[in-house]
């Protein structure tokens, strides 16, 4: 009886980290998880202490980062046989919320090699359904219907010094681009997929993503904050330019404890 109890306890203990394959072998599992590490021009920054005007963008303007939120969706892991493991759900990274720099999916995936890990910045058009996500509604993540509704992709805000040496606020908000704001608005999906490359997840499903915020201002379009710093949501051309600059922002970081 003592042995039976021991087996029961052990079974409970292992049930959270293994699953039965068809041949009854025990496959190890790891939790899929993304952690976001913020940088400026390739150097790590303390994103919790970024509100002073201290970063210089490609156009030579000094900027601060006071508020930063962005949405990640469609996380997926590609197995070596080409099978894609899609992780349901989305995550709002928010530098003002403890723990929100990590997207802990709570989903377990096989501990093995993957040929690619990818995610989407923002929502695809099919997922970008106005008012559909209660947790995003309550944090004012919505986009006005005059711009097509749905949700923001990113809100990056702070101050900068303009060419007249004045301190101004900027609101670098990305949404799906909206042409003809109003009743006949037409949208262009400006979300994009980020491919992080292969992952050895034999011991951990944690992936570090470097987020180089300086890239929003330089690659391929050098951003002139003096001209484009506010009211960017209804600016179709600005949204296209931001979308073009976005993909180089996100790269694979180094996992410290693989």
């Amino acid at each position: 009886m003592k042995n039976a109890l021991l087996i029961l306890v052990l079974a409970i203990g292992f049930s959270s980290c293994s699953k039965d394959n068809d041949d009854n072998d025990i496959a190890q599992l790891v939790t899929a998880q993304l952690s976001f590490n913020h940088q400026w021009d390739g150097e790590d920054i303390d994103i919790f202490n970024s509100s002073a005007i201290q970063y210089t963008n490609a156009n030579g303007e000094m900027v601060s980062i006071e508020r930063l939120r962005y949405l990640i969706s469609e996380l997926s892991f590609e197995q070596t046989d080409g099978t894609i493991i899609d992780i349901e759900g989305y995550h709002l990274v928010d530098i003002d919320i403890q723990g929100a720099l990590t997207f802990n999916t709570g989903i377990e995936i096989p501990a093995e090699q993957y040929t690619n890990v990818s995610f989407r910045f923002g929502f695809s058009d099919t997922a970008n359904i106005d008012g559909a996500y209660t947790d995003l509604n309550v944090v004012n993540w919505g986009v006005p219907m005059m711009l097509g509704g749905g949700y923001h992709y990113m809100q990056m805000e702070g101050s900068f010094i303009n060419d007249l040496n004045e301190e101004l606020n900027y609101q670098f908000h990305t949404i799906r681009a909206a042409e003809n704001p109003g009743e006949n608005v037409q949208n262009t999906d400006t979300s994009f997929t980020v491919n992080l490359g292969p992952l050895n997840a034999t011991s951990s499903g944690a992936v570090v993503v470097n987020v180089d915020l300086a890239e929003w201002y330089k690659n391929p379009n050098v951003w002139n904050l003096n001209e484009l710093y506010t009211m960017l949501m209804p600016n179709y051309d600005a949204q296209i330019l931001m979308s073009q600059n976005g993909p180089s922002v996100f790269t694979r970081g180094v996992e410290l404890n693989p």
């Binding site: 006071e66 209660t134 702070g158 101004l168 609101q171």
Partner: protein
């Protein structure tokens, strides 16, 4: 040893099934919130703590306590004296007056839809992390009720009617601050406002005038009012983001606001965005009630912004004083804002003093 192992497992099973309010084996009548259809569709489920479930008896007790001056040291001041139903559970005075005739320094916050506040910050500076915690401070604050909890609890416990009500709500007549604030938090969670003209417009049960519609567009237009980033949109019927901003009121910060709680200089002068519901009843406006009218509020965002170190990056055109609305847009914005008021809320008999 075997028996010990059995007991351990059985104990684990039992502990995972036991509810928090079973401490003394008593369970009051479970109650549910009346959630408007729009809220049910658009908002997360209300934030009810596991250790303070809603019950019919708890809500009734909280209501009685809310309107009873027994919590104040001289039995003259009830919660409802500064959170008046007819003022949207706020106070028409700029600063409420405590039992010693001393005025506070901030305008009384309206109490509405707080069950849906998932940020777990309450008060203008977010000093309380739950409604239960929020109820503790005013009783002992020397410029408010100026009492001690020991005295307040003792006075309540001396009353036979309260002993019975606490017995019915919590299964005990041993009264303390924890149970008092639990009961009041239950009542406050029932204060739901979701039947404004705009709510009905969204459900195609009312129409807006052209001026109200233009005001709504001013509110939602990033190139005009851009009010929605802090105060929400039709998909957030709370009409607040429940976070903290410096909205450009003062060049020199004299009230640290959120900074008093966090100690972080970056939070100096930040206050919680108030909900825009029931503005028809909740004047005066801003954390210090400095504006008597909505016209003054709108003028502030249009031409009155001033720079300070912690001003929110969402504040625009500060050098010009703000977003420079036209007189027509200002008038229409006010008309729209008033459509967010809900007379049925302030006249709800369930929210009035009990007999």
């Amino acid at each position: 040893m075997k028996n010990l192992a059995y007991l351990f497992l059985i104990g684990l099973l039992i502990s995972s099934c036991k509810s928090e309010d079973d401490d003394n084996g008593y369970t009051a009548t479970p109650a549910t919130l009346e959630i408007p259809a729009l809220f049910a569709q658009l908002l997360p489920t209300p934030n009810i703590p596991q250790d303070n479930p809603l019950t019919e008896e708890g809500i009734a007790l909280g209501r009685k306590l809310f309107f009873d001056p027994i919590l104040s040291a001289d039995n003259t001041l009830a919660c409802a004296a500064c959170h008046r139903p007819q003022q949207g559970f706020s106070d028409q005075r700029q600063f409420s007056i405590g039992i010693d005739g001393i005025a506070g320094t901030r305008n009384s916050m309206p109490l509405q839809n707080l069950a849906f506040n998932s940020s777990n910050t309450f008060n203008w500076n977010g000093s309380a992390n739950s409604l239960e915690a929020q109820g503790l401070e005013p009783v002992t604050n020397p410029i408010e009720m100026h009492n001690t909890w020991a005295n307040a609890a003792s006075e309540i416990e001396a009353r036979e009617d309260y002993r019975l009500l606490f017995e019915q709500a919590f299964g005990t007549s041993s009264i303390d601050s924890t149970l008092v604030t639990k009961a009041m938090a239950q009542f406050i969670r029932t204060l739901i406002s979701g039947d404004s003209k705009f709510d009905r417009y969204l459900q195609e049960e009312a129409t807006l005038t052209p001026n109200e519609l233009n005001g709504f567009n001013v509110f939602m237009d990033e190139s005009r009012g851009d009010c929605f980033h802090c105060h929400g949109n039709p998909n957030n019927p709370l009409w607040t983001d429940n976070i903290f901003h410096n909205n450009g009121l003062d060049a020199v910060i004299t009230d640290r606001g959120r900074g008093d709680v966090t100690g972080d200089p970056r939070d100096f002068g930040l206050f919680k965005s108030p909900s825009l519901r029931n503005l028809a009843f909740t004047a005066p406006y801003m954390h210090d009630g400095r504006f008597a009218t909505l016209e003054e509020v709108i003028d502030h965002y249009s031409e009155g912004l001033v720079f300070s170190e912690t001003i929110d990056p969402l504040m625009k055109a500060i050098a010009d004083g703000g977003v420079q609305l036209t007189p027509q847009d200002k008038a229409d914005l006010k008309a729209f804002l008033l459509t967010l008021s809900d007379p049925s809320f302030i006249n709800n008999p369930d929210f009035s003093p009990p007999n």
